[in-house]
């Protein structure tokens, strides 16, 4: 009995609104902000915009997640007397394939109730079949996923005077990382209405994208007599955009919707370095310091000295907000008689406060030691090594061509074999460019300023480039 009560309480505690994850509500193409939801309904053969309130609640239990959406909507046009009430629960069971860092999600509908009243007509959802399957590829800096969707909705029209069937087919793609997440759905709906004189058949496609990004904005200090000049703010923005393209018997066209949430702000610490002002990488260094990605003395950053392997590894782990495995271990109860952990490397002790970053980076296959038992924390880093680390953090190293190719850089012959794939991929992702002579200088030692430039571009990729690729380059094209 006690266990049951605890379990129930636990489930209730996990009832959280789905505002932090960018996932479109439902599978109908609607958009929402904090207090309003809107969607287009085509059940009559004409597009009708409905607006109203919504709620979304999520339950997580072991390997199963369920989400319940509730909508209470009315037609926006007061001339059309329309009302829509919908409650639907989707259940997703997750099967993890830890060895390959992938998870497969199977989603089905467990509960549904929907009534649409338009004028004197009533449409009641009598059956809803739904199947969705996703593959989630969990890479160190970001998760990438894609899924396929099939479904069918059966509506009863005016108490058995007819019926409307909507066939659903489509898919979704998305990514999720600390700096942003976007999910874009493209779903085709084929609508067959057998409702007497007004029977019709048509189709509509909705493309909806829910996106969250965190960006750094600079704010000047308005007062002149202050101990600091200005500082960075982390701004979390979330918006949903949608586009319906419809071809119905009476009309065809396109309707777009969008809604923004009010951004969330976080002030960051203010750098006061004396040796970076006017440096070409000043802005990048200050940004990363504000984010606690780089540490420095109170007044010196030393931008033109080589960055060490340890500092760069730590910076990537912090910048991508990759949770270290030791933090996770601390949270779980340590078993009795469990052997004491031993450092992977002789030259970095487990007691070193930065060991956790190294361990996680090695576990995630982002970096390896310079030999089997040495990490070389104080050693400087070559440009090629830094690029390999960035591309591995993204999990994109396998996107290079089959071996046996040359990169487009003029010093391709200087690129070590082990770095070629990463340098090719980084170029394709616009993470780096050659110099004026189109050289990548793979064996050049990376300075702290150059490292800042690379990491800031890497963060921009996570924040902006992925969003553009997963939203704008899909919906707008």
């Amino acid at each position: 009995m006690k266990t049951k009560i605890i379990l129930t309480l636990l489930i209730i505690c996990l009832l959280i609104p789905t505002t932090s994850i960018a996932t479109p509500l439902e599978f109908v193409g609607g958009v929402q902000n904090e207090h309003q939801y809107e969607e287009i309904v085509f059940i009559t053969g004409q597009p009708i915009k409905f607006v109203g309130s919504y709620s979304a609640s999520e339950k997580v239990k072991n390997e199963e997640e369920s989400v319940t959406y509730k909508f209470k909507l009315q037609s926006e046009d007061p001339k059309v007397l329309g009302k829509l009430d919908r409650t639907v629960t989707y259940v997703t069971s997750l099967s993890k394939h830890a060895g390959v860092g992938q998870t497969i999600g199977q989603t089905s509908v467990s509960k549904y109730k929907e009534t649409i009243k338009i004028g004197s007509d009533t449409y009641n959802l009598t059956d809803y079949q739904f199947s969705k399957s996703d593959i989630i590829d969990q890479r160190p800096a970001s998760d990438f996923y894609s899924g396929n969707i099939k479904g069918r909705k059966y509506y009863d029209y005016n108490k058995s005077q007819g019926n409307v069937i909507i066939d659903i087919t489509g898919g979704n793609v998305g990514y999720e990382n600390f700096w942003g997440s976007t999910e874009t759905q493209i779903i085709d709906h084929i609508i067959t209405a057998d409702i007497g004189q007004n029977s019709f058949q048509g189709s509509y496609t909705h493309q909806v994208s829910d996106s969250m990004t965190k960006s750094l904005r600079y704010s000047e200090n308005d007062a002149s007599f202050s101990s600091f000049h200005g500082g960075h703010i982390r701004v979390t923005e979330k918006n949903v955009v949608s586009k319906y393209d419809y071809r119905l018997s009476k009309s065809h066209g396109s309707i777009s919707l969008s809604q923004d949430m009010v951004p969330r702000l976080e002030r960051l610490i203010v750098p006061k370095f004396r040796d970076v002002n006017g440096h070409w990488a000043e802005e990048d260094i200050k940004k990363l310091y504000s984010l606690d990605v780089f540490e420095g003395g109170n007044t010196t950053f030393s931008p033109d000295t080589p960055i060490t392997r340890l500092d760069f590894t730590k910076a990537i782990m912090k910048a991508s907000d990759i949770r270290t495995s030791m933090e996770e271990t601390k949270k779980t109860r340590r078993r009795r008689n469990q052997p004491e952990e031993v450092s992977y490397f002789k030259d970095i002790a487990i007691s070193n406060e930065d060991y956790k970053y190294v361990k996680s980076a090695v576990d995630s296959n982002i970096i390896a030691g310079i030999s089997k038992d040495l990490f070389g924390p104080k050693k400087s880093l070559k440009r090629s090594e830094a690029i390999v680390i960035l591309v591995r953090a993204l999990g994109f190293e396998t996107r290079a061509p089959n071996p046996g190719y040359m990169t487009s850089f003029s010093d391709d012959k200087d690129i070590p074999n082990w770095a070629k794939d990463s340098i090719y991929v980084a170029k394709e992702l616009n993470l780096l460019e050659g110099d004026k002579a189109n050289r990548i200088n793979p064996n050049g030692i990376l300075t702290r300023a150059e490292a800042s430039d690379l990491i800031v571009r890497f963060l921009e990729f996570l924040e902006k480039d992925l969003q553009r690729d997963y939203r704008d380059n899909i919906i707008e094209f």
Binding site: S219, I233, K243, P263, N402, G404, Y405, E433, F477
Partner: protein, 549 residues
């Protein structure tokens, strides 16, 4: 006997050992071993040399293992792989193998380039990448082109379009697939307003005294607005770039804005802050001097331009280097006296074909002879440079089952079979025959007729003029006049001035007789949407041919 057998066996074993040992000595002497990988046992590798000798050799601590030139683990080597081994003493220090069957192969479409079209010359497309780099790629007949996820012809591509190119090979310049950005690329309006609020945390501005440039003049929008702006593009004032952080210092100033539609809401795509005083010109750009960054207008005024000048062409933002002499446009200049700088240049020019990829033409003439799939047009006119040009000649055209033919007298579609078998062309020399040849407007792609609208008599072409403009509202049906639409920002082509002349009011255009063409094919009035850019031939308010751009 038994003894002899044992001795023979021992001798044989000794011989074998000697041979292996001799070969072993060779590989250790040469330091190289080549053959087939068998297995890894603990820290040793079992290899069969090409000669057939099998070796089991330990690896050094920091052994280098590679497959296809990439570092791998020992478990990646599979039985049967051909390996090349170098030795350090009697240990393996390096081992590699080749596994890849198709070097440098990528999945079809895996290489991607995204950019803005800078130039189109038949099969050659130059784009500007997000990094600012320019690259040239080529199309082939096999290149697939899509826009809004629908397959279209490459001739629909414009300079200024945003495109995504897919390639099947890492080294090829030939594009396998082109995705073109849809209507969201279009500049919908030009606004002017006074900055009241700048929100750099969310890239939003608020403006009052907002005007929209419509029908050749600024018209008040009658409200203040709050709009998001594209924070990734630079803002200029008097030719100087403004750091976006400093936009707040320009409150109270007037800004010019190129507006886009972003999922049903307005968005500022580009803006320029007005520095001094405004001068507007609706003129021809007579000359462009690229060295001094100046353009000479038809009224002899010289206007400076710079990297921040907003240039709109075919309703798309284009690079300032896409300005051409001979173009007609609206120039919003900023400055005083003779020292003027263009803040915005809005090019009017439209043509039947967007680029030299398109070979579409518009003809009108007498249907002299109709054969089963051939039409001979006699004494015809060709729309050339926005004017009907006459030819006292006969021209051969082809038609097929996909050709759309419409009888304007009986308001009905005519099948190609009917077109051939009925009296649309007759022998006019036969005196007993009182009927006459019909006439037709033909929209052709090369010598193939895409659409033909035919009628009993020839229209007077003297009254006809070519007009361009933007659809203000989607077509509606009128009880008396049938379908009509309102056209804003319209311009007529003036043959005498050889210039697009701006109209100062919205036009009502009737569509009853109109042949409407979109993407090279005949469409219906339902395919014209608000905001569409039209190129048309009209007689007074009656449209004869409309091309939806």
């Amino acid at each position: 006997m038994k003894k002899i057998s044992i001795i023979l066996l021992a001798a044989l074993l000794f011989m074998n050992f000697s041979i292996a040992n001799a070969q072993g000595t060779n590989i250790y002497k040469e330091g190289v071993l080549e053959g087939y990988f068998i297995e890894a046992i603990d820290n040793k590798i079992k290899v069969e040399e090409y000669s057939g000798t099998i070796y089991t050799i330990p690896m050094i601590k920091n052994v280098v293992l590679e497959i296809d030139g990439r570092p791998v683990k020992i478990t990646d080597f599979k039985k049967g792989m051909e390996v090349y081994i170098t030795l350090q003493g009697r240990n393996i220090k390096y081992m590699d193998a080749y596994s890849v069957d198709n070097p440098a192969y990528i999945q079809p479409g895996e290489k991607v380039r995204i950019g803005t079209v800078l130039g189109i010359d038949r099969d050659q497309i130059e784009i500007k990448l997000p990094t600012g780099k320019r690259e040239v790629y080529f199309t082939s007949p096999a290149t697939v082109v899509t826009k809004n996820k629908e397959n279209i012809n490459l001739k629909e591509l414009y300079v200024g379009d945003r495109v995504k190119f897919y390639f099947d090979d890492i080294d090829t310049s030939y594009i396998s697939r082109v995705n073109i950005q849809g209507d969201s690329i279009l500049i919908k309006d030009i606004y002017r307003g006074q900055l009241t609020v700048t929100d750099s945390l969310q890239d939003i501005i608020a403006l009052e005294k907002v005007d929209v440039f419509r029908n050749g003049k600024w018209t008040s929008l009658g409200k203040s607005i709050k709009v998001p702006y594209n924070g990734n593009l630079p803002i200029y004032i008097g030719g100087q770039k403004i750091d976006i952080k400093n936009l707040k210092h320009y409150k109270g100033k007037t800004v010019y804005m190129a507006m886009k539609d972003y999922f049903g809401k307005e968005k500022v795509e580009r803006m320029v802050v007005k520095a001094q005083y405004e001068n507007n010109f609706s003129e021809k750009i007579r000359e462009i001097n690229w060295f001094s960054s100046q353009m000479e207008l038809g009224n002899n005024r010289n206007i400076n331009f710079h990297d921040g000048t907003i240039v709109v062409k075919n309703n798309r933002l284009v690079d300032v280097y896409n300005l051409n002499s001979g173009s007609d446009g609206l120039i919003i200049a900023d400055g005083r006296g003779s020292d003027l700088t263009a803040d915005l240049v809005y090019i009017y020019n439209e043509n039947i074909n967007n680029t030299n990829i398109g070979q579409d033409q518009l003809y009108v003439g007498r249907l002299n002879t109709i054969l089963e799939d051939i039409l001979y047009l006699k004494d015809f006119f060709l729309l050339d440079k926005n004017n009907w040009e006459s030819f006292n000649d006969e021209k051969e055209f082809f038609y097929d089952d996909d050709t759309f033919i419409y009888d304007l007298e009986n308001n009905k579609e005519v099948s190609p079979k009917e077109f051939f078998s009925r009296d649309y062309s007759v022998d006019e020399n036969n005196r007993r025959n009182r009927t006459r040849d019909w006439y037709g407007y033909l929209y052709t792609e090369g010598d193939r007729i895409s659409a033909a609208f035919i009628k009993r008599s020839m229209d007077s072409l003297l009254n006809q003029r070519t007009t361009i403009g933007i659809v203000e509202s989607s077509p509606v049906e009128d009880n008396n006049m049938g379908w009509f639409l309102k056209l804003k920002n319209s311009k007529d082509w003036s043959t005498i001035n050889e210039q697009w002349m701006e109209k100062n009011s919205t036009l009502n255009i009737y569509l009853r007789e109109a042949m409407i063409i979109k993407n090279g094919q005949r469409v219906t009035v339902n395919d014209i949407k608000s905001g569409d850019s039209l190129y048309m031939v009209r007689d007074d308010n009656m449209a004869k041919v409309i091309i939806v751009k």
